[in-house]
């Protein structure tokens, strides 16, 4: 049984078909890449999986459970977590708070719990903080816990965002162009980091990326889409030599 099972999903925005009958099945502990030219519909697929859009057609099942109609926060609770193409941290909250708030859907105390500081409130806040600090330490970010993300360098912000996504112990981690905007030195660090996460945590990683260096060295399996439809699938080496992929990226020089 696949962890994430996307079947024939189509997304229509007015007249524009952003994704057309896209299917994928991700197994436990896989590291899969999703590539394609700009505007191919990659981020839309991520948005569909994380529940931000509801697919026009098709089904998405996570842990064998349909996610149709669920709100994004609900999907997160099931164990899907993600990062964003252009970093979306809460800039006026400390790094530690950023990670704590990501635990929001796990909170079981409500408004009255937080106003009366109930026992459950205190326990949970303690657990959350401990867990957040553990994640920060694991990613070597603990010295930034009280900094504001807006004051951090770009590479560190990327890392904080990954930490935020990772901190809630997801089963599926979706990385949307984690290497965008990084310099070469950061890039090597990022490849090591993703590899390390994949090794260290019981987690499936699904990644959109343009940097071939990252994709080729990390992914076990790559799926290529163009105009919302899959055009190729296979191991990195297979993809590298696939004529359809070359055509999609470089254009059709026969015309």
């Amino acid at each position: 049984m696949a962890l994430l099972d996307v079947k024939d999903v189509t997304q229509q925005f007015g007249g524009l078909r952003a994704v057309s009958s896209f299917s994928v099945a991700l197994e436990e502990r896989e590291l899969v890449g999703l590539i394609g030219p700009n505007g191919a519909g990659k981020t839309t697929i991520f948005n569909l999986v994380s529940g931000f859009y509801q697919p026009t057609m098709g089904t998405i099942r996570f842990k064998d459970q349909p996610t149709a109609g669920l709100k994004p926060n609900h999907v997160t609770t099931l164990g899907v977590s993600r990062t964003f193409q252009n970093i979306r941290l809460w800039n006026d909250m400390t790094v530690l708070d950023n990670i704590r708030v990501a635990h929001h859907s796990q909170l079981s105390y409500g408004f009255f719990g937080c106003s009366f500081r109930s026992a459950r409130y205190r326990d949970q806040e303690k657990d959350i903080t401990a867990n957040a600090m553990k994640t920060l330490e694991a990613l070597d970010l603990d010295q930034y816990a009280d900094e504001f993300p807006k004051n951090l360098p770009y590479g560190t912000r990327r890392k904080v965002e990954i930490a935020r996504a990772l901190s809630i112990h997801p089963r599926l981690l979706m990385l949307d162009e984690p290497a965008a905007g990084l310099n070469t030195a950061d890039l090597t660090g990022l490849i090591d980091l993703i590899g390390w996460i994949h090794k260290e945590f019981p987690i499936t990683i699904w990644m959109i990326e343009h940097q071939m260096q990252v994709v080729m060295s990390l992914c076990q399996r790559i799926q290529v889409i163009d105009f919302g439809a899959t055009i190729a699938e296979g191991t990195p080496t297979e993809i590298q030599n696939n004529p359809a992929v070359i055509k999609a990226y470089l254009g059709d020089d026969t015309i």
Binding site: T43, N47, F52, F84, Q85, N86, R88
Partner: protein, 309 residues
């Protein structure tokens, strides 16, 4: 109860009333909309700029009447441009003194909005403090003629107001969509930082926007003063808020939206007062507006700006 012909006459009469009343909302809403479209700033002082316009028109007109012995229509013809220029100067001064420094310092948008709100209060009470409490009567520049079409009564002023409102809308629409500076205005609303890179000075565009908005507010103030000839310092406050509501219901930032929203609000208010118990006018009018926003959360003509994730 009016039946048959009487009902028809009543509907026609109220339609005319609504067109006149909606014209004022539209004219003021256009000013809100211009500034909002360019700066994303709700210029809450706009209603009071319009009040200042009415007062300037009053002083210019009384001065001209007193000094020249000119006929009314000449005075009116001279008053219109002078009022527009002077009021535009007030609008631009507000922009220079209050909003621009904040913008330069990168203040949050809502701080500028609240500053605008405060500027409005300053204008209202400054007027009261300097000119005294007495309301003023606007001189009658053009003799009001009442035309009767059966039971429906029409005045020359009413027709003029409606024509001017529609004309202003057409002029503004042309400026914004056809001229070079209009293009710059639209560009500015999309990307404030790219515009200077294209060689267009954004401050010039902003000043032009304020000139445009304030001078049309002045026009509205002048016409308002002619139609409802009692001027008081607080006359702009309520109309200003309601015109803002109209602009938003139309879809703020859209010229067509502001125009349509103004007339819509005028229609709803007048028709509710006319055909339902007038006691519930505000209640029903605002419920209808809420319902419209519920159906179309970005207003009648507004388009939700797509946010890329």
């Amino acid at each position: 109860m009016p039946w048959g012909g009487a009902l028809l006459a009543s509907i026609l009469q109220n339609t005319l009333n609504a067109l006149q009343w909606g014209s004022f909302y539209s004219l003021i809403a256009l000013g809100y909309c211009l500034v909002y479209g360019v700066l994303l700033l709700i210029n809450f002082a706009h209603g009071d700029v319009y009040m200042v316009g009415a007062y300037i028109a009053f002083f210019v007109a009384t001065f001209l009447l007193a000094s020249g012995g000119l006929p009314g229509w000449v005075v009116l013809a001279v008053t219109v441009p002078i009022t527009m220029v002077l009021t535009a100067a007030v609008g631009v001064t507000l922009e220079r003194v209050a909003y621009r420094p904040l913008r330069r310092k990168g203040a949050h948008r809502l701080y500028v909005v609240v500053t605008a709100l405060m500027c409005g209060i300053i204008l209202e009470n400054g007027n009261l403090a300097l000119l005294g409490a007495a309301s003023r009567a606007f001189p009658e520049l053009v003799t009001t003629t009442v035309f009767s079409l059966g039971d429906v009564k029409l005045t020359n002023l009413k027709v003029a107001v409606i024509v001017v409102a529609i004309g202003s809308f057409l002029i503004l629409e042309t400026i914004v969509s056809r001229t070079k500076i209009g293009m710059a205005m639209r560009a500015l609303s999309y990307d404030r930082f790219a515009l200077p890179l294209m060689g267009i000075p954004p401050d010039t565009v902003i000043v032009f926007t304020f000139v445009l908005g304030s001078s049309f507010a002045a026009l509205a103030g002048l016409l308002f003063a002619m139609s409802y000839p009692v001027l008081d310092p607080y006359m702009g406050a309520m109309v200003g808020w309601k015109a803002f509501i109209a602009a938003v219901v139309g879809g703020i930032g859209e010229i067509r939206g502001a125009f349509a929203g103004g007339f819509l609000l005028g229609f709803v208010e007048i028709m509710v007062a006319a055909f339902l118990p007038s006691t519930f006018r505000d209640l029903i009018a605002f419920t209808i507006l809420l319902f419209i926003l519920w159906m179309k959360p970005t207003g009648l003509f507004g388009v939700a700006r797509f946010q890329k994730i």
